[in-house]
């Protein structure tokens, strides 16, 4: 906190303090959460958050559902990048049952997850633009996002909540149309993305607006257990993909962009650079995509093909066992983390061998770092609070579980 801001805070006369209800349905919250701001003029003196407006009891729900039916719940955590959540959950179960996943599946997962990361960051950054007043910056990336949705549709049939992947692999292989669309995406996306980038990244007004808005120091970010782009914007290069690689991330060459001040501009730029790095990863993974099966040999967990179920006794038994949740599971506690759109998305699973998890806790990065928001906006104008909120990318579904 600079001396200037400290002076302002001290000078605040209680008679001049106004209370503003910032949310739950304020246009800039993009989701539903409430901030009660105490302001002196335009300067924020303190704020109080209320969350839980779309609490949906994911963890309780997960205790009632067989493992393969939990994937749809994970979709709705961070719905901007649901495939990462799906695949993260599947990898947690795979870790519990201890299975080797074919290299091809791992590479396919990397491609899908990085596509999801691009989609996630595009939403966040375009919304920063909207909150800064540049409405057009929302429409360009959204046209590109539609192409990612089309790729999802090829893989799963759904656009947003994809329920993509199965325990042990994918529901289907990359289709010819997927190949074609991915190739054209890789060709056209960089140009469109740089167009978007040139709209904001070096725009004088945008830079003035975002620099110094909602800064957080590396120490505080660490103490608040930040993760993902927000932590990296503060200058710490912690990335689960590198720290504890999963799904063959160690095979790929990419850099972790870091910021310096942890302010809105750094967060924006870190996300922009991560999109470029994700593209690089996709290109590498796609170029080196190994031959092989699109699923692991895992009859206990992977549903057999429908035609087999009708004609083959063994397949029918497996089908029955999987659907009825009769599969035997190891007892144990697993923690598995993936680098979600917003940071370390962890699954802490306690299995008692039953058909449903005994306890499943989601480590939701949004929930953990959103508590730092009052500290980040203290002493700043309301306009900066708006930008800070959109730049830390709080996704209500992930926040409230």
């Amino acid at each position: 906190m600079s001396q200037e801001i400290k002076d302002i805070l001290q000078a605040a006369d209680p008679a001049n303090v106004a209370t503003i209800n910032f949310g739950p349905t304020h246009p800039s919250t993009h989701g539903i959460f409430q901030n009660i701001l105490k302001v002196d003029g335009e300067k924020i003196i303190s704020s109080e958050q209320t969350v839980g407006y779309i609490h949906r009891a994911f963890e309780k729900l997960a205790e009632r559902r067989p493992y393969n039916q939990i994937t749809p719940i994970t979709d709705r955590l961070n719905y901007c990048s649901s495939p990462i959540n799906n695949i993260g959950w599947e990898m947690t179960v795979e870790k519990l049952i201890g299975v080797d996943i074919p290299k091809r599946v791992q590479y396919m997962r990397v491609i899908i997850m990085e596509l999801a990361r691009i989609a996630d960051h595009l939403i966040c950054n375009s919304v920063i633009g909207v909150d800064a007043g540049a409405l057009t910056s929302f429409f360009y990336p959204f046209s590109e996002r539609e192409k990612i949705y089309e790729l999802y549709e090829e893989m799963s049939g759904a656009r947003l909540t994809t329920n993509m992947g199965r325990i042990g692999g994918f529901e289907r292989d990359f289709t010819p149309v997927f190949h074609q669309k991915l190739q054209s995406f890789l060709k056209t996306f960089p140009k469109a993305f740089e167009e978007f980038d040139s709209m904001l990244a070096r725009n004088r007004i945008f830079m003035d607006r975002t620099k110094g808005a909602g800064p957080i120091s590396a120490e505080r970010a660490l103490s608040y257990s930040f993760s993902g782009p927000n932590l990296r914007a503060a200058g710490i290069d912690y990335d689960v993909r590198v720290m504890s690689p999963y799904s063959s991330y160690e095979d790929f060459d990419f850099i972790i962009p870091v910021g310096v001040n942890g302010d809105t501009y750094d967060r924006f730029m870190v996300r922009q650079e991560e999109i470029r790095q994700s593209l690089r990863i996709i290109e590498q993974a796609y170029k080196n995509l190994p031959e092989g099966d699109y699923k692991a040999d895992l009859p206990d967990f992977y549903l057999p093909a429908k035609s087999d179920v009708y004609n083959n006794m063994e397949a029918l038994i497996y089908h029955f066992k999987i659907v009825m949740g009769e599969t035997e599971l190891p007892v144990g506690e697993v923690y598995h983390a993936v680098e979600g759109g917003n940071g370390e998305l962890g699954y802490y699973l306690i299995s008692d061998g039953g058909r449903t998890p005994y306890r499943l806790q989601f480590r939701r990065p949004c929930f953990i770092y959103y508590q730092a928001y009052p500290e980040m906006i203290k002493g700043l104008p309301i306009s900066d609070a708006v930008l800070t909120l959109s730049s830390i990318n709080v996704i209500a579904g992930e926040l409230d579980a």
């Binding site: 106004a18 503003i20 304020h26 246009p27 800039s28 335009e42 633009g129 909207v130 909150d131 800064a132 007043g133 540049a134 409405l135 057009t136 910056s137 429409f139 360009y140 046209s143 709209m199 904001l200 725009n203 007004i205 945008f206 003035d208 607006r209 104008p381 309301i382 306009s383 900066d384 708006v386």
Partner: protein, 341 residues
């Protein structure tokens, strides 16, 4: 004052009123289409062919929407606010010379409601009343967001009127008259923009701020203040605010064309005379106005908005000194030319 003049002026006033309102209504349509074009979309196209009935649909809907006055609002001020905004936006156009003299029914008709010799002063006077509409409306709503919008609007307008006024004075220095008609007539050769590019830039930026248009749309910025000063307004009261905004945009485009781009003058106008000249003059003026409106909208859909302190910073620390220096330089040059030293 003879009866014919009275009739002539009445018709002119009525015409002007309708043109301003019609222009404002269709500017909303144009803005939506332009935004759609910039954003790679289609824009309104369901209401009538190409959606040209869209403004009418909006208008009818707003007229018949429930008229709502919040329980704790100051009722009278709440009603007066939009009225003031609309009134001031409309009466500014009274001093604008819309074209050369028209010769009809054996009379020379001046296409100007009132050629008062202090035209510029009148314009500034009226514009500075305009802010009261927003201030009163925002305050009377008894809503914090509205109040913030009102405060922002008033301080923004006061700050930018200074630089705007100073840059207009340079034009007055050049032409030696406060009458808008004189200023236009003097530009029949070279337009003022050639002598005063800096003053034009300052004036244009300030005009954006006065109009509450992006990047200076802080009084109503959606992402921070929900609706700003008109958060609590519904139905036609909101409609009046929106109308006022677009009408002011129309009028200030006209004023900018008059002060810097020769008003109804156009290159090669010496080849024409009489009513042809008048018609072409009106057309040239309309085209200039249209281009200004286009640029203003273009800016809105491209650039992010300022933060409040940055806005103040720009107004007081950059534009005002710059306009003062410009005024000083202009004054010195004119003094040298007149051989006062």
């Amino acid at each position: 004052m003879d009866t014919a003049l009275l009739i002539e002026k009445s018709i002119l006033v009525l015409l002007l009123f309708l043109v301003s309102l019609g222009a404002a209504a269709y500017m909303t349509y144009f803005e939506r289409k332009l935004a759609a074009w910039i954003q790679d979309r289609v824009g309104p196209d369901r209401a009538g062919p190409f959606g040209i009935l869209q403004p009418i649909a909006d208008g009818v809907k707003m007229f018949l929407k429930e008229d709502f006055i919040p329980a704790k609002a100051d009722k009278w001020l709440f009603i007066i606010g939009p009225g003031i905004a609309m009134f001031t936006a409309l009466i500014t156009s009274a001093v604008i010379p819309w074209g050369p003299k028209l010769h009809l029914f054996g009379r020379d008709i001046t296409l100007q409601v009132a050629d008062i010799n202090i035209g510029i002063l009148y314009v500034f006077g009226v514009i500075s009343i305009g802010v009261y509409g927003i201030m009163i409306g925002g305050w009377a709503s008894n809503n914090k967001y509205s109040l913030y919008g009102a405060i922002r609007a008033s301080s923004q307008m006061i700050s930018y009127e200074l630089a705007m006024g100073v840059s207009a004075i340079t034009i007055v220095l050049l032409s030696g008259s406060l009458s808008l008609n004189d200023i236009v007539t003097q530009q029949s050769g070279v337009w003022n923009i050639v002598y005063q590019p800096v003053a034009f830039l300052i004036f244009f930026i300030c005009a954006l701020a006065e109009l509450n248009r992006a990047p200076f749309d802080l009084p109503e910025c959606e992402s921070e203040l929900v609706g700003g000063y008109h958060t609590e307004y519904s139905s036609m009261k909101l409609g009046l605010y929106l109308f006022a905004e677009y009408t002011s945009m129309f009028v200030s485009s006209a004023i900018m064309s008059i002060l810097f781009f020769g008003g109804y003058n156009f290159p090669g106008m010496s080849h024409f005379s009489g009513n042809t000249l008048a018609m072409l003059g009106i057309a040239a003026f309309a085209i200039k106005i249209f281009l200004f409106i286009f640029v203003i909208m273009w800016i809105r859909w491209t650039i992010p908005r300022f933060r409040f302190d940055q806005l103040m910073h720009l107004g007081w620390k950059s534009l005002l000194p710059l306009s003062l220096i410009n005024l000083l330089v202009t004054g010195l040059v004119i003094a040298f030319k007149n051989g006062w030293f």
